[in-house]
């Protein structure tokens, strides 16, 4: 069992699979962002990531030079109550005049709206905002959203305010906190361009990691941060450990099979630099 886990991890460290995440890699079908409802960083980072992927998407033959498709932002009533509604003057300028806001009373309605939105060809990307871990958003619903988004090529970013990291089929899962912003050029005492500390804790084709994301002149900048509990020179090892985490969907659940969980725990313990579990 342990041997198998090592082999798979080794396979995945080849360049095709274990490429570190970086801005400009393009959109994934569904990504999830966990954030606190007490700050605006969840949606801020979601918009920044989605816009970054949207700017870098591959152009098809004969496509219009300017993409004027709508952007759909779905919120449940609880999310509106916790974090407010979009404010047009504060939105990124690219999407100011093409935002469609959907207010769903229930979580089921929000999921319906999200699925309809990703099936619409006139939508550039979709942002969803739900509070907590609703019963309706189980693995089946999540998988359904991923498949629909993959089939129609409309990326979906789901912001989970105060959610727990439950089972999900999202291709990338992030945990985002606000980070102190860079000092502006003119007024050093003022808040600067928004910045976030984003932890990619599960991704299909990237090893996990932590970055400091910030927006600068319409571009997304990412500075890698050392993973908690290790120093920077152990970065390659953390990659290896992270792949094991990242490829197994089941590891997010509460240990479905004891043997699997123990083997997984063992592999991480061996790989971490200072003898403690790196992640999880």
């Amino acid at each position: 069992m342990i041997h198998d886990a090592f082999d798979t991890a080794a396979d995945l460290t080849t360049a095709t699979h274990a490429q570190r995440w970086a801005p400009g890699l393009g959109a994934v079908a569904q990504s999830e962002i966990f954030a606190s409802s007490r700050e605006g960083s969840g949606v801020g980072a979601a918009l920044a990531l989605a816009l970054d992927a949207w700017r870098c998407r591959p152009r098809e033959e004969g496509e219009e030079a300017e993409d004027r498709r709508a952007v759909v932002w779905v919120q449940t009533r609880a999310a509106v109550k916790a974090g407010g509604r979009p404010f047009r003057a504060g939105l990124p300028p690219e999407i100011r005049n093409r935002l469609i806001h959907v207010l769903a009373e229930k979580d089921e309605d929000a999921l319906f709206a999200l699925e309809e939105a990703v099936r619409c060809r006139d939508v550039a990307f979709v942002i969803g905002e739900v509070v907590g871990s609703p019963r309706a958003l189980d693995f089946t619903a999540s998988r359904r959203l991923t498949l629909a988004a993959e089939k129609h090529g409309v990326p979906l970013t789901l912001v989970r305010l105060d959610g727990t990291r439950d089972l999900s089929s999202a291709r990338q899962r992030w945990a985002v906190n606000a980070a102190p912003s860079a000092r502006p050029k003119w007024n050093r005492a003022a808040p600067g361009a928004p910045a976030w500390q984003a932890e990619l804790f599960r991704a299909r084709s990237h090893p996990p990691g932590t970055w400091r994301l910030s927006e600068d002149g319409g571009r997304l900048l990412a500075t890698p941060l050392p993973v908690r509990g290790e120093d920077t020179q152990a970065g390659s090892r953390s990659d290896l450990a992270g792949v094991g985490e990242g490829r197994s969907i089941l590891s997010d659940a509460a240990a479905p099979s004891p043997s699997f969980a123990s083997s997984f725990g063992a592999s991480v313990a061996i790989l971490s630099a200072d003898g403690e579990r790196v992640l999880g």
Binding site: R85, A189, P191
Partner: protein, 517 residues
């Protein structure tokens, strides 16, 4: 280009003629032989709206009270008039009158105007055209007077006050020909006619003797044509154009299914609905239209009618889409003993040119269109759920944006000022926070929001937004907005409501209104 020719038709006794036709008696025969008036109810009692020949001979006049007329002729019969029915009939006659010209307009409440420019030769000349009009209306039992003139005003004047069947040729001197008509031929309001009578102006020709400047000065405040004799005179002589609103017959697409066996089950209803939608699509396609509103009526065996209405974000002619949207609305229908008639009606349709259908199942690959997406969400979540923010003219943040339907065209507006940094999200109601700051107007240093204490690390402000004194009460206070970042990097938008010593309440309060990205 042929000179303009307008045919005016005046149904001189329209209300009485229509009453006679509904009664089914000939003119002067049966019930029409006795004195009879049509009345309207007014605040002071019934007033005469129309009279027949016998009533007019016995002294009843239009506009007098019925009680006064009864003193002259006690045997007078009074029947309630039907102005709405008259107007309805007049509309039908207007459509019918298009047999003499390409378009016709209503001239409420008892006249019609038909454009007969360059069509008289089809009837063998204008005299024969007028004869044909008279013959046709006589056959239908309406007494009319008709005239043809180069302008609608002149034709109207000749119909009502000139000789019957008069024709004013384009080369005639209109001013000389019409100078003998009374000033009432100008289609003026009663009070203007009174003024003209008091000025001693009785004929159209006399208006020219006074001098245009004098008349212009006397009626300089009257803008409406019906209140200004000069405008009416110019319209009559064709010096200014007079736009007329033509009557266009509307065809409301309607399809229905009478069912041999009443249906009680949803699957059967869905089948019928699918058939109806296909029929409706064919009907709309023929008319080059797309449906914006659809009414579905279900007639039950026991006499109940269930109506379901559907509004669409954009004109559509997609049967599958219609069926899917109605399917959401049919869940709670009580079929009772069964439904025997199903009718689908497109009460609002918009032009929708035919376009090439999706080839090679492109829809499956490319997904739905934006309007279909909006329709589906609107049906399930309600029309208030799908909206988009648009700018509104206000500096107060919560008033500076409005929510509009997503496919409405955006009205032009001034762009936001670039140096205003605004938060990404705005709370529905600004939440009260407790703030530590140097009074009276120092920078905030620490605040408590939703039970947590935030140390403020960076701050920018204040940005002062004054209350809208033209709208709010006098006690509204100014707001000083601060953009802040706490020690963990969380960015907020807070404001102090009022300033100490502004005389509009006690100590200023602090609110958190926005969450920055």
């Amino acid at each position: 280009m042929a000179p303009r020719r307008i045919l005016s038709i005046w149904l001189a006794a329209f209300a009485i003629d229509r009453w006679r036709l509904t009664e089914g008696c000939a003119r002067g025969q049966g019930a029409d032989a006795q004195p009879l008036v049509l009345i309207t109810e007014t605040a002071h009692g019934p007033r005469i709206a129309a009279t027949n020949n016998a009533a007019r001979a016995s002294g009843a006049r239009i506009g007098t009270m019925l009680a006064d007329a009864r003193t002259l002729c006690p045997s007078i019969q009074a029947v309630p008039g039907d102005p709405a029915g008259d107007l309805d009939m007049l509309e039908k006659l207007a459509v019918w009158a298009r047999r003499w010209g390409p378009w016709s307009a209503l001239d409420p409440c008892d006249g019609l105007l038909v454009d007969v420019t360059a069509v008289a030769h089809l009837f063998g000349g204008e005299t024969k055209l007028l004869a044909d009009v008279h013959r046709a209306f006589d056959t239908r039992g309406f007494a009319i007077r008709a005239a043809i003139a180069p302008t609608a005003g002149a034709a109207w004047a000749l119909t009502h006050y000139g000789p019957d069947r008069s024709i004013l040729a384009p080369d005639h001197d209109m001013e000389a020909r019409l100078s003998d008509l009374p000033v009432a031929a100008l289609r003026l309001d009663d009070d203007v006619l009174t003024v003209l009578r008091r000025l001693g102006l009785k004929r159209l020709g006399e208006l020219g003797t006074v001098g245009r400047d004098a008349l212009h000065r006397r009626f300089r405040n009257r803008k409406s044509p019906a209140a200004n004799p000069l405008v009416r005179m110019d319209q009559l002589l064709g010096r200014v154009p007079e736009p007329l609103l033509p009557v266009v017959p509307q065809h409301v697409p309607l399809v229905q299914r009478r069912l041999m066996e009443p249906i009680r089950h949803r699957t059967l209803l869905d089948t019928v609905l699918g058939d109806l939608a296909a029929d409706m699509v064919r009907e709309l396609e023929g008319a080059g239209q797309g449906a914006r509103r659809l009414d579905l009526g279900l007639w039950r065996v026991d006499g109940e009618v269930v109506m379901r209405t559907l509004e669409l974000a954009a004109a559509t002619r997609d049967a599958g889409h219609i069926v899917r949207l109605f399917g959401e609305k049919l869940g709670d229908i009580d079929a009772g003993f069964g439904i025997e008639l199903v009718r689908l009606r497109a009460s609002w349709a918009e032009p929708l040119p035919a376009n090439q259908a999706d080839i090679e199942a492109a829809a499956e690959r490319h997904g739905t269109s934006l309007s279909a997406f909006v329709d589906r969400l609107t049906i399930r979540l309600g029309s208030k759920a799908v909206r988009r923010p648009v700018l509104k003219g206000s500096h107060l943040p919560e008033r500076s944006q409005a929510w509009r339907p997503p496919l409405d065209p955006e009205s032009p507006s001034q762009d936001e000022l670039r140096f205003h940094a605004r938060p990404l999200k705005l709370l529905d109601r600004a939440e009260k926070i407790a703030v530590l700051y140097a009074t009276p107007d120092g920078l905030p240093q620490r605040f408590r929001w939703r039970g947590d204490v935030h140390e403020i690390a960076r701050v920018e402000g204040p940005e002062r937004i004054a209350p809208e004194w033209w709208r709010e009460r006098g006690t509204a206070r100014l707001r000083d907005y601060y953009r802040i970042e706490d020690d963990a990097g969380r960015r907020y938008w807070i404001y102090r409501y009022g300033i100490a010593g502004d005389g509009r309440g006690g100590a200023p309060e602090w609110f958190l209104q926005g969450l920055c990205a």
